[in-house]
């Protein structure tokens, strides 16, 4: 049990696909929201179970509080005090993550199909890569996501939340990587037999090297430049 505990502590939040080891501002903001909610939930859980234990183990303990007060305090006041600030906090967090016009410096198209991802870079001469997404570090990028056949979902957990790739629609997700390096993304909407294997690599380059690195990557991998249609 002790060994298990230390394993949990050591590997608790890490991993190449972990939402809690954030490597971009959006994932970071959401991870903070999570830790706040975890703390609050633990307190409320302890309160409810503590009350249950008290009313069972100490009969008569809560009978001095009138029934109406029990219901008003626990059923109205408590949720009201918790939910109002939480909803406001989440709303503001969500607004900040939106792809508002005119801020992003890159726009990259992502198209999911059974079972691969195609990325097109209109700002970089229209090159195209398959199953490898190249990004500049420290630059906010708007991903224009769509589906070719069925619904997929574009997700790089360490950068930001996910957005669905719906055929016939284009959804925009703003992502940003803090540091250069290798990251991972995956499809997160069930899309058939190959769903589990529909992962993609994310290579983040220093911003100044991005165009050159992308051109080189596209040139060295012929499968990537060829359009599939």
């Amino acid at each position: 049990m002790i060994q298990l505990g230390s394993t949990v502590a050591l590997t608790g939040c890490g991993g190449p696909l972990s939402t809690l080891s954030a490597a971009g501002p959006a994932a970071d903001a959401i991870a903070t929201l999570w830790w706040v909610m975890l703390g609050g939930s633990a307190a409320i859980f302890a309160l409810v179970l503590g009350l249950f234990a008290l009313v069972i183990l100490r009969p008569g303990w809560g009978s001095s509080v009138s029934p109406a007060r029990w219901i008003v305090l626990g059923g109205l006041v408590l949720p009201g005090m918790v939910l109002t600030p939480l909803v406001a906090y989440a709303l503001i967090t969500g607004e900040r993550l939106l792809p508002l016009a005119g801020i992003a410096r890159q726009r990259i198209e992502a198209e999911g199909r059974q079972w691969s991802w195609t990325f097109r870079y209109p700002g970089e001469g229209g090159v195209q890569t398959v199953n490898v997404l190249h990004l500049p570090a420290g630059v906010s990028v708007d991903m224009a996501v769509s589906g070719f056949d069925v619904i997929h979902s574009f997700w790089i957990p360490r950068f930001a939340g996910k957005i669905d790739a719906v055929p016939g629609h284009v959804n925009v997700l703003r992502i940003q990587a803090d540091e250069p390096g290798r990251y991972e993304g995956q499809c997160s909407e069930f899309c058939g037999i190959g769903h589990a294997l529909m992962r993609f690599a994310v290579i983040v380059h220093p911003a100044k090297d991005f165009s050159a690195a992308l051109a080189q990557a596209a040139a060295s991998s012929p499968a990537s430049t060829k359009a599939k249609e």
Binding site: S41, V48, A90
Partner: protein
């Protein structure tokens, strides 16, 4: 059954009365059991069948845990895994959770409300057979390797005939829709029964809280299931006949399916939870030894919950690309739904605080409920926060959350209820030596399995993957979850052994072992098929009719209807709100008709699955014929006038009263139908506004003259139905009026079929044509059903079932035709206006 007669009341009046009533209410032996319509029998069958499906679903769940216990396992192929996880979800939800709730409602509701049976015994049986056959088709497909494999919410286009060309998706769409017939039948029956068939004196504000929970649940079902049924029909039509409702390349939209599915799917969580919460609200006060705290607050809370639960379906769709401010609305309403739930939780805590709680096996499961439901509720609030959902959506965090909610809302209260009510079913008490370790195995195993999944999900594991590489940091989490799953399974196996042991060796009890306050304990246990030898008058309430002293006097026939008459299965109908006795309801007897009708539907479904469309149509006509036939043995064949029902009260039989159960059944059926129609209107407008590839290259110019002619024909039919109603009320034969109404309907159907033929773009080419065809087909279908109503009227006139006093039938026909006119005008209006709207306003 004589063993069930109370010892102390075994004086001759009680025993004599029991023998007379048992002869009337009993179901025959052997194969005649297939003709049973009694609510106790059907309720038990519902619950037993649900537990069998629970075992099947549990085994499927364990198979997924075996596959996921280690990375890169090849225990199952991806194709098999997809079938297994899809069926696990579908079976647990559609074949276990909902039917279990229905079974509990069927079995307990009449007993708690002081009635002898539900309003429509044949409908109860019909619902059960639909459930059994539909569920068998769905699960049986696994044996042939053609089980559904698109996930239990069947998102299109993956489930379309392009990407799932086999029969797998059809099995889901047809099988689940078949099962949902039983849900709608149950909903209508429960609403009417609760509103009309209670013990006299039981006004709504004296009704036991369980009745309120079942009533609200059933009302929610009436509104929640039609969108799913419509979606399933449209998707099946798209798959079978290529009408594009969801295909984005032809003007359909995959997101329409998601809206229709979750419009059902979210309220469904509460449809499962509310009856179990009703059980908790019934059990907790008994175990606490005091009255339920906050009866009125709870009633208000569950009504609020019912409304709010229809306004939060979009929180399953936070990542599909809906504008953030729209999401914020659904986020806030999803948070608000926590309030009525908190009201109930604290009402229960207050009930315990103000009593002297007993600690026993049901209470142990109440503890399990508090623990697990609290966690599920808290993660639910987390997921309602839009940015967090963007990360957690479709990961194992959601899998963990939904299992906590469903186990908290359903499994633990269900087991509390089972241990509490099993003495009623079997007449025996549980053996605690086994019950307690079984609980702890289930509880520990459950938490080990699912608590860790929160973390697995946060570390990025998406749901519905059949394998992973082993480098993601999920290995030990998955392994422990699988171990926990096996512990939980052992726990459930122990529960089953415990229940079987109780059945065989449990201590015999003859009356209420809990000192409960509700009427189901005011009868000898296990109950006789007629429940109450006589029906009590409820003086106080709610939840306090004090059954202790009641049972013997009721068994002696000292309440209402304490006698046998004409071999009738009698129960009392009351005024909806005040509970004053109002009508004598004569219920239908055992019959094979429900079985035959469900079998005919099963033939239609199987024929559809094999693409034999003509045999399917023939089977559907047989179904229609059987329904008309069923009408030929309902009601009474002569006038009786007021009949004595005991206590010096006389009321007319239900056949001679305007507000009888059939009337209300049709009203609520039409509310369900109207919800389906509204969903169809929503779908049409939704596709126009948000689907890709609109407008179509060409649109038709609607023939306003023909549309107008249809409306006139429908109006003539509705007016003629009024004429027939007046004629029958005046003692006439009404044949001319019925003929005129039929003529109007036939003309309307012919014109509508012609209109469908003129639609451009063709229904198979573009969603505009497809939705227009669906709207027109809706009108034609309802006119066709109207013809069946008229046919039944004619046959029943000839059979002597109608008179100036017994004139319910033409009222029902009139109501149906009025509905057909209203929806027909709307549908024809929209179809006529749509091309012009699309052209002038664009998309």
């Amino acid at each position: 059954m004589s063993a069930s007669v109370d010892q102390s009341a075994q004086g001759s009046p009680a025993l004599q009365l029991h023998r007379q009533l048992a002869a009337i209410w009993g179901t025959g032996p052997g194969l005649q059991r297939l003709a049973a319509v009694n609510h106790s029998i059907i309720g038990r069958r519902f619950m037993a069948t649900a537990f069998v499906f629970f075992a099947i679903g549990g085994v499927l769940g364990m198979l997924t845990r075996v596959q996921l216990a280690t990375p890169t396992a090849d225990f199952m192929t991806p194709g098999t895994y997809n079938q297994v996880f899809t069926l696990h979800g579908s079976v647990m939800l559609f074949l276990f959770a909902i039917p279990l709730v229905e079974g509990m409602g069927v079995y307990l509701t009449p007993k708690i409300l002081g009635a002898r049976d539900l309003a429509f015994p044949r409908l109860t049986a019909f619902g059960y057979w639909c459930y059994l056959f539909g569920g068998s088709i769905l699960t049986g497909a696994l044996l042939f390797g053609v089980a559904p494999d698109g996930g239990w919410f069947m998102y299109t286009p993956l489930s379309s005939n392009v990407y799932t060309p086999g029969v797998n998706a059809d099995v889901w769409l047809l099988g689940v829709t078949f099962v949902e017939i039983s849900a709608l039948a149950f909903a209508v029956e429960i609403i009417v029964s609760i509103l009309k068939i209670r013990a006299p004196g039981m006004s709504l504000d004296r009704m036991p809280i369980f009745g309120w929970y079942m009533l609200i649940t059933a009302l929610m079902m009436v509104a929640a299931f039609p969108p799913l049924i419509l979606g399933s029909i449209l998707l099946e039509v798209e798959r079978a006949f290529h009408l594009p409702f969801f295909d984005p390349t032809r003007g359909g939209d995959a997101l329409l399916w998601q809206h229709l599915f979750w419009l059902f799917g979210h309220p469904d969580v509460y449809i499962i939870f509310l009856p179990m919460a009703g059980a908790l609200s019934t059990i907790i006060p008994v175990l606490a030894g005091g009255p339920l705290v906050g009866y009125r607050a709870i009633v208000v809370a569950i009504i609020a919950l019912a409304f709010v639960s229809f306004g939060i379906w979009v929180h399953h769709m936070f990542t599909v690309g809906i504008p953030h401010l729209a999401l914020a609305f659904f986020s806030a309403s999803s948070a608000i739904v926590a309030v009525p739930t908190a009201v109930q939780v604290f009402a229960w805590l207050a009930t315990l605080a103000h009593g002297r709680p007993r600690w026993n096996v049901p209470m142990l499961y109440v503890f399990g409920f508090f623990f697990i439901f609290a966690l599920g509720g808290l993660t639910g609030v987390m997921l309602a926060m839009v940015p967090f959902d963007w990360q957690a959506h479709n990961t194992y965090f959601v899998v963990a959350h939904m299992h906590y909610v469903v186990a908290g809302a359903l499994a633990f209260p269900m087991l509390a209820a089972l241990y509490y009510w099993l003495p009623l079913l079997t007449g025996r008490m549980a053996i605690h030596q086994l019950s307690v370790p079984a609980f702890w195995l289930v509880f520990v195993g459950f938490n080990l399995t699912f608590f860790l999944m929160h973390l697995t999900g946060l570390r990025g594991m998406p749901r519905r993957i059949y394998t992973y590489t082993g480098e993601e940091g999920w290995n030990w989490l998955n392994l422990l979850s699988s171990v926990g799953g096996f512990i939980m399974t052992i726990g459930f196996a122990l529960v089953v052994i415990d229940l079987l042991a109780q059945l065989r060796y449990g201590r015999r009890v003859r009356r209420d072992p809990w000192k409960a306050e509700t009427l189901e304990w005011a009868m000898p246990i296990p109950p006789a098929p007629y429940n109450f030898a006589s029906i009590p008058h409820v003086e106080i309430g709610p939840d306090r009719p004090a059954p202790d002293g009641l049972a013997p006097s009721l068994a002696r026939g000292e309440g209402y209807l304490g006698f046998a008459r004409n071999g009738w299965q009698e129960t009392l109908g009351v005024h909806m709100t005040s509970g004053a006795p109002e009508q004598l309801i004569v219920l239908s007897r055992s019959t094979y008709l429900p079985l035959y009708t469900a079998l005919a539907i099963a033939v239609a479904v199987l024929a559809m699955l094999f693409h034999f469309y003509l045999p399917a149509l023939a089977a559907a006509l047989v179904v229609a014929g059987l329904f008309v036939l069923a009408g030929q043995s309902a009601g009474l064949s002569r006038d009786y006038g007021p009949l004595p029902v005991g206590q010096g009260v006389s009321v007319p039989p239900h056949t001679e009263l305007a507000g009888s159960p059939p009337w209300w059944a049709l009203v609520f059926t039409l509310i369900a139908d109207g919800t389906l129609f509204a969903s169809l209107l929503f779908g049409t407008l939704y596709l126009w506004i948000s689907a890709p590839n609109w407008p179509p290259p060409q649109t038709f110019t609607p023939d306003l003259g023909l549309a107008f002619a249809t409306v006139v024909a429908l109006l003539v039919a509705a007016a003629a139905a009024r004429g027939s109603q007046r004629s029958i009320s005046a003692g006439g034969t009404a044949r001319g009026w019925i003929g005129l109404a039929a003529l109007g309907l036939v003309v309307a159907i012919a014109v509508v079929v012609g209109l469908i033929g003129d639609i451009v773009p063709r229904p198979t080419e573009h969603a505009l044509g497809a939705t227009a065809a669906a709207l027109l087909a809706y009108v034609a279908f309802h006119a066709g059903i109207g013809l069946l109503f008229l046919l039944s009227n004619l046959l029943r006139l000839r059979g002597g079932f109608l008179s100036s006093r017994r004139s319910m039938d033409p009222h029902l026909t009139r109501l149906w035709l009025d509905y057909t006119v209203v929806t027909g005008v709307i549908a024809l209006g929209l179809v006529s206006a749509l091309p012009a709207l699309v052209r002038s306003l664009g998309t």
